[in-house]
Symmetry: C2
Subunit: 189 residues, 2 copies
């Protein structure tokens, strides 16, 4: 059944998020999902197929959502607030995926995890970059700095998601607005 497939993926995601891809055995996922190994391998091919499915079914939609909501339409603050909200809302609605994504955002380059998540992660970076490239047309002195701006913005976003998932933070709208205000106008404003 398709319900089985969903249950397997759910348990796998939870385990990967809690202890990391390599530390979780296939057998454990099967036990948690109440099935046996051949069933898992029927649906996903191999262990890496679980990550691929997560990339396709979770990461890609997340990137799409970020791309659409943060697209520059002439108001940089609006794009950055929307983008940051996308990150934080995803952390609330699907904390397991958010934790996995954050933990893999700086993963070792030769690891299987990094390879599986690489494509959507790079797309995410490109979309963040586009915001600043587009905004530089209206704000000349931003020109040519889109790479460090994108890296800084995403690094900051991941740091806040990490705080959120740790329970050290419960960001409301006002918080997000202030965070972006800091990013745009500095510490003292």
């Amino acid at each position: 059944m398709d319900d089985t497939r969903h249950r397997i993926l759910d348990k796998a995601l939870r385990a990967f998020a809690a202890r990391g891809y390599d530390a979780v055995g296939v057998q454990e996922i099967c036990s948690e999902a109440g099935i046996t190994k051949p069933s898992l391998y029927h649906h996903f091919g191999n262990k890496l197929g679980l990550l691929d499915a997560i990339a396709c079914e979770k990461y890609v939609p997340f990137v799409d959502s970020f791309a659409e909501r943060s697209r520059y339409r002439g108001d940089l603050a609006f794009s950055l607030v929307s983008g940051m909200e996308t990150f934080l809302e995803a952390g609330r609605t699907d904390p397991d995926f958010a934790r996995l994504r954050v933990s893999l955002s700086f993963a070792p380059r030769q690891s299987e995890q990094h390879r599986a998540m690489r494509a959507p992660a790079e797309r995410l970076f490109e979309h963040a970059r586009r915001i600043f490239v587009a905004a530089a047309r209206d704000h000349g002195n931003m020109r040519g700095r889109d790479l460090p701006y994108a890296a800084s913005f995403l690094g900051t976003a991941d740091a806040y998601v990490n705080l959120l998932l740790s329970g050290d933070l419960d960001p409301d709208e006002e918080f997000v607005r202030r965070v972006v205000h800091h990013f745009m106008h500095g510490l003292f404003s």
Copy 2:
């Protein structure tokens, strides 16, 4: 010999940085170091002992260096530039350790890696926080925001280290100064 111990740790660090702690077997580290398992276990007790040694002999000095160089002495820009330089210089002088540290900065909380690096990582965060707590005495409207400021600063620093290690960035002094300027005064200045 003490030289053996150092060689083991060096190979372990390189492998962990490239592919992740769980993906690297003890046997592989031994082969790389040109020794056998009992020798490794004599020096480090168990596999986790390798991470503990890295935490003690690499992470702790890094945190100490950051704490001393970034200590607030009345000039926030100077502290932040010094702190950022500590990160980037460490990425240049010891890229393997830097890659491992960055890859573990958002590691799953229940993983062995996270537990081993937790203490120095939390100390690093506390020292970053202290900068902003101290600076808030001179700049009143920063007060009470030290947690998000520290998270954002460290997230940004890790993002730049990650770019540096990927070869997408070769930050000079001017770059660091501008990054901190952005952090303090915003995008447009």
